[in-house]
Symmetry: C2
């Protein structure tokens, strides 16, 4: 698969364009509304044919470009069915497969950051949204976040993938772009190296983070696919 | 080859760790001094064995971490011989090959941004420093910059690589991380799509850019490998 990573500096969000090399059918994962012009230009110049705008979850930190991409390119929008985004064309469920030419995107339900998180597994790479971050994980203090559930998603589902699976996260704040399942299992300070569930839950419940800057705009906007 | 891209938000600089998958011998390309702790930790956790700190050129926009990496890890520092960095262990020349286990890094002299620019060609990817940027190119108004020479480097050397060669630049300011030779040949607004040399030279000579923020510290510092 062709993978193109894009970054939104304002919200430290990674967007991904993934495409089948044979047919060049493409999906864009976690687009950002303010970057839609850039992303459409990049897809045109890559010579790919956009089919899907997929969300890893209903974001609280940026407004999705999915609805705008649907309006301008006719793509189908996909969000997990528990996310509550009735605007989506595809209400995704665990185990679903999305076809791009001969390639497949497999949907893994990985809740805990929100109740409707998914990771997308494609050809040796997994796009983890805000479930598993590089040497971190998503917060669990709003939008039905649940640290025990996040622990099960990461250790029970993502950490069972092969060690050399590339991990492409939804954000990074330190200039890191990619990791591997093997590295996260060993070095993730929040839940790598065999940390047990009770200690992870205690850690997550003690973080006392400020609310995301754009949450009051982003969550209601994203429940309408950003339109 | 294993490729890990890293970003320094302060100077929009990309650093790359490249490693031979069999022996895990590694080189770091265009390190940034303020990110050396991060980069050493990443290399440790990737399980690679650092051998070289390679520079694409003597930078004017950030201070290199090469000297610090040499001190702490014992790596050899490589810079093109025309860069004037006498501190370097390897005074590189066009056509040189640097060995990492069974893998080879090929040195392409691509001057014009400065007189001592190189691009590093590795296994279907080229690390172009500030010669070829994504939909742009390096400026040519200091450090023996020469737009006619840059035109020849890019069109005569980089654009003769296969179209699907991945282009990893030294910087990006719009959240783009990678391109291909084929895309740059078609869509680079400065010298793609067959633009002729005279018109490129005229364009570059009319840019009237402000000097880089850190030039007075960076250039003399980098001539001493950042120490």
């Amino acid at each position: 698969m062709i993978v193109r990573q894009l970054f939104d500096p304002d919200t430290s969000t990674y967007t991904y364009i993934v495409a089948d090399p044979a047919t060049r059918e493409a999906a864009i994962i976690d687009s950002v509304k303010s970057q839609v012009d850039r992303d459409i230009r990049v897809m045109e110049e890559m010579g790919v044919v956009p089919r899907y705008a997929l969300e890893t979850h209903v974001h609280a930190d940026h407004v999705t470009g999915a609805g705008e991409l649907r309006r301008r390119l006719g793509v189908k929008v996909g969000v997990h069915k528990d996310g509550g985004a009735e605007c989506a064309d595809l209400q995704l469920d665990d185990g679903d497969e999305i076809r791009l030419g001969e390639s497949r995107i497999r949907v893994l339900h990985t809740p805990g950051h929100t109740n409707g998180d998914v990771s997308y597994l494609i050809d040796g790479a997994v796009f983890t949204g805000d479930a598993l971050l590089i040497r971190g994980c998503g917060r669990t203090d709003f939008q039905q976040g649940d640290p025990a559930r996040l622990y099960d998603s990461i250790t029970g589902k993502l950490f069972t993938l092969p060690d050399d699976t590339l991990v492409y996260p939804g954000h990074d704040y330190q200039g890191l772009t990619v990791s591997t399942i093997g590295e996260e299992k060993r070095f993730n300070p929040r839940l790598g190296n065999g940390r047990d569930k009770a200690s992870f839950v205690e850690l997550m419940n003690s973080l006392n983070l400020d609310p995301p800057r754009y949450i009051d705009v982003a969550v209601p906007g994203n429940l309408r696919c950003g339109t």
